[in-house]
Symmetry: C2
Subunit: 341 residues, 2 copies
Amino acid sequence: MTGYNIAVVGATGAVGQVFLSMLAERQFPINSLRLCASQRSIGRNLVVNGRDHTVELVTDELLAASDFVFISATTDVSRDVGRRAADLGAVAIDDSSAFRMDSDVPLVVPEVNAADLDGHKGIVAIPNCSTTPLAMVLHALSGLSRIQRVVVDTYQSVSGTGSAAVQELLEQSGQVLAGATVEPAVYPHQIAFNALPHIDDFRQDGYTKEERKMIDETRKILHMPDLPLSATCVRVPVTVGHSEAVHIEFAEPVDPVDARSALADYPGVQLVDDPAGRRYPMPIEAEGEDDVLVGRVRADASHPNGLALWLSSDNLRKGAALNATQIAEEMVRRHLVNPRS
Amino acid sequence: MTGYNIAVVGATGAVGQVFLSMLAERQFPINSLRLCASQRSIGRNLVVNGRDHTVELVTDELLAASDFVFISATTDVSRDVGRRAADLGAVAIDDSSAFRMDSDVPLVVPEVNAADLDGHKGIVAIPNCSTTPLAMVLHALSGLSRIQRVVVDTYQSVSGTGSAAVQELLEQSGQVLAGATVEPAVYPHQIAFNALPHIDDFRQDGYTKEERKMIDETRKILHMPDLPLSATCVRVPVTVGHSEAVHIEFAEPVDPVDARSALADYPGVQLVDDPAGRRYPMPIEAEGEDDVLVGRVRADASHPNGLALWLSSDNLRKGAALNATQIAEEMVRRHLVNPRS
């Protein structure tokens, strides 16, 4: 079996770590694995699948020897490394917002728009972790009736910000329980026992960049450039797992029974919808799961053609590392990458 | 100055305790104060405003001697005590859902529909703690253009469930931090570092009773019986303070600048809307505040006549005890209660 030369940029981060376990879990065919991270981690030893790896700098030599370069770092690093990787003949699969809206960069959730990979030019972007589960759910339901409008409000976990944010939530929680003073560092305000309607920077129009990402990326992935969509993105004191309350307006009435069937049949979606049994998606149950959990499917009381639902998804897995791995698998399946080894 | 005979049923509960401090804080004219609670608290001593009070049973003698009976207990207690109080000539101000939708019971947020008090028949209901701030915001904006549709998703704190739920959140948080096992008691699932899309019981149509309350109560308070409104109510690991992401569709376009003015001018609403300064409503800032905090006011990207906003409100104060006190004040102002003393 053919193996690929893999480079992981941001290997020590929250997503990078999940990505490394994902490669092993899914038995992705690897010829060589090279790990890169920021300056302060260079030379550090990381054990992956029982083997030692030394963290390296991202050099042109390294990129030129790679088939796939997975990048989950800062947007600046992505911008630099992504272009260099593509120029040197590798395929960059990038987790940042650097390239997502570029017209020559496919933005892909394999279950939704794998065919967009065919036009790749060396860089493929994965969507923001709150966009991916929404795009899947909308795609799953799009066969029932034309989607006319979407309103989504999110409940996002701190691991979406990174490992330091998880640490901050846990430390602050302990401080609040002990009656000690909390001093925010990663977030502008206390996150423990609080909710922050503020993810990424604010724009002039009052939306955050995170909210705008959900709007623009969903439209691009679904090939619906004019889809009316509104989002409020909120950080909640949850470690892993993003949840979303979604309200969808269709062209015609959609029976919740049909919606549940369509969702249950959709790859990568797991229907968790048994209110009587107190079963519905929750972040603590989504954590560690590959599937997007969907439940609370019901007629939306505010519109005759409306449907309301609730989802929870592991933002580090399907929201990032799993989706990236699936893109690589799909590119292999489509013979879009010829291994150099 | 005339004083009133006050009885508080549920005096040892989360809302009861805030209510007692509210009476003192607002210098409500009191002639006598009698405290009632469940069987296990009878005989217990409570200090209110420096004076000792013994917790009593709710007897007919007590109700017949009262001008106002504030009830924040179980729905069963409300149903029993509310009717008895009214029959015995007192005014019951009730915090439960027992009477809210009764046609002969005013359901009142004084800033919105104080005039509904005039038709009272001895029982006045206060809305559910998630309904009150929503009704205020919608009323504040209703002068700008006719409201055609509302979608709201909530981020509700555990104190809305009661003191035991606050205890459960804090205990579970400590257990999770210590790596210990969590055993849910008040909630069906772990609430620490989680989000539960489940408040009150589920109905056949897939909505929870809490969500249905938001729909029905908002319509009644605003005198808009057909207002299209949808809600997803979610419990988050916050101790005090309910937050809501609100999406409003008007008959004509509404400028966010005008919306901010209308909200800033509205009594009981405080505009906290300075994204550049990282100022927006948060539950930890709403806690202990009388005002409903409103911010993130912006055009709703999913509809040309839409407006999106975010609010946080102290569910124990404006959501319950403060609103109850304001109702009593308003009834005194309108000469709707003649003190027996």
